[in-house]
Subunit: 333 residues, 2 copies
């Protein structure tokens, strides 16, 4: 198993989850830029030297999980595949390629069978939103949704997590609050700007949820509109969703659909002040779905709220789950 970007926020969680979930790792080969080569990371109590991610470095690996950004994936994923290494790519580089399965194992593991060497891991907000949308879609047939995200700084990476930490400490000690990762202060603020802007006025991040959602759910005609916002939270994303369905909805059945879905945990007991919150879905494998109610502005509509660990279901966990699914059901030769 190769891990490209092993020292990053997602890479570190992948290492932890491979060990936690007892993934059968014969050899752990951490790969990174030349700058990190020679350093060591710890995996399952062993020190593993970091190797420079060159094309040859993938020789002999069965899998490599890429979490080092789109440009690294574009440069090296096909090189890995050419060396018989199956790539699970956490970047957006290949997600919308027709020949690349975009997989959330609880939803469309069957599409893994058709892979040609690269499997894409979805955007973090998409994966977390789908943990609420998919079970409801199975029950009521999704037609359209509106989503507003509340995205943790972990989605930007380890440097952004340090920036929120530093800004809060600067603020608490009366110092000037400095910024470098984000264009604006994130502490005690909200930035309605995640990824770059398109001519339509939507951001790329906002369109990922629409386009990736269509692909994963196999609903090319799905309509969706999203607003993506960065919030001063460390590592779990939350999403407010209004969803419209083809068939009549009811609360009992909606709750039942969520409760029975393996990717979600029903957390919906408002009388006892229980609803998903990022602080309580950090370090949880399942995403929390709650605040489920009949939508007051849609026919056959449900409103709900999801929180999920961005580094886990939004990235590392989903990638490890893909590797697990491939190991259980290797594609026919």
């Amino acid at each position: 198993m190769g891990i490209v970007g092993a020292t990053g926020a997602v890479g570190q969680e992948i290492l932890m989850l491979l060990a936690k979930r007892k993934f059968p790792v014969a050899e752990l080969r951490p790969l990174a830029s030349a700058r990190s080569a020679g350093k060591k990371i710890v995996f399952a109590d062993n020190e593993c030297p970091i190797i420079e991610a060159t094309p040859e470095a993938f020789t002999g690996l069965d899998f490599a999980i890429f979490s080092a950004g789109g440009s690294v994936s574009l440069a090296l994923a096909h090189e890995a595949v050419a060396r018989d290494c199956v790539v699970i790519d956490n970047s957006s580089a290949f997600r919308m390629d027709a020949g690349v399965p975009l997989v959330v194992p609880e939803i469309n593991a069957h599409t893994l069978a058709s892979h040609r060497g690269i499997i894409a891991n979805p955007n973090c907000s998409t994966a977390i939103a789908l943990m609420g949308l998919y079970p409801l879609h199975r029950r009521f047939s999704l037609k359209r949704f509106f989503a507003a995200t509340y995205q943790a700084v972990s989605g930007t990476g380890a440097a952004a997590m340090r920036e929120l930490d530093t800004q809060v400490r600067q603020w608490a000690s009366g110092r000037v609050v400095e910024k470098s990762v984000y264009p604006h202060q994130i502490a005690f603020n909200l930035i309605p700007h995640v990824d770059s802007f398109l001519d339509s006025g939507y951001t790329k991040e906002e369109m990922k949820m629409v386009n990736e959602g269509r692909k994963i759910l196999d609903l090319p005609g799905l309509r969706a509109s999203t607003t993506c916002v960065r919030v001063p939270v460390f590592r779990a994303h939350s999403i407010a969703i209004n969803a419209e369905f083809e068939t009549p909805v009811d609360i009992h059945s909606a709750r039942d659909a969520i409760a029975k879905f393996s990717g979600a945990e029903l957390c919906d007991n408002p009388e006892n002040k229980l609803y998903p919150m990022p602080l309580f879905y950090t370090g949880k494998e399942k995403c929390g779905v709650g605040r489920i109610r009949i939508d007051s502005a849609l026919d056959n509509g449900l409103s709900f709220w999801v929180s999920g660990d961005q580094l886990w279901k939004g990235a590392a966990l989903n990638a490890v789950q893909i590797a697990e699914a491939l190991t259980r059901n290797p594609p026919a030769a």
Copy 2:
């Protein structure tokens, strides 16, 4: 001018805004509970003793702005009116009463003429959302909207602002984070729970935006669905809105409508990373509207994002603007 709740977060802003906007105050009479009586507040460089808010305390006042919660308003507003004091009430106690105008001066100042002594000030999220919705409604005729709020702790009051401050300092110094105002930690967290829950699963806060919006816009058939969320921001609210209109929309005309509206400021230049953010709409009289785009999931739809100072347009400023409108156009005898 009487100020009921003069020592609270909103009361303090009312005093400041009356002075800043040079409201013609003949006598400033701060009113509060017996506990605060005898203390002094400063208004326009003069010390004013706080008087206990009894029915008799309203004698001789032309106006009183109530910002001390619904139960104080219910107990004393009619007593004030009986003493020829016009009440501008910041609580939710009378907002939906058919005989009480619910006023945002930029939108429906004309309804002030019909008041019978009490005028209601809308909920903070409602007033701020309407600074984007109303000018677009005038241009395109609003039919339906979906809103997700990002509400600052100031909406809960001064104690909640102290709680966020304290929690962040406790966290920064490695101490246990304590909570008392909110049922859960608010620092680095999100609480999808503002005001109490109704049987429908919506909160009272969520229904305020729907019901007050209908009344203020005089659109009884308006459909709306909202999710209200408390975020770790000190005092400006933000709202992501997807709005559907009766007539075709276009971006140029939408931007023009916002730019020409006295309650809003067009802040929509994403290429230069300019969009409304709570940190930059704290202490601003106008609300910022930006991220305006053609909605991808609605016919005749627009998505946009609003930020506005909860203590100002969401409460104190709107109340002072109502007093100003009444002073300019006293109702016919």
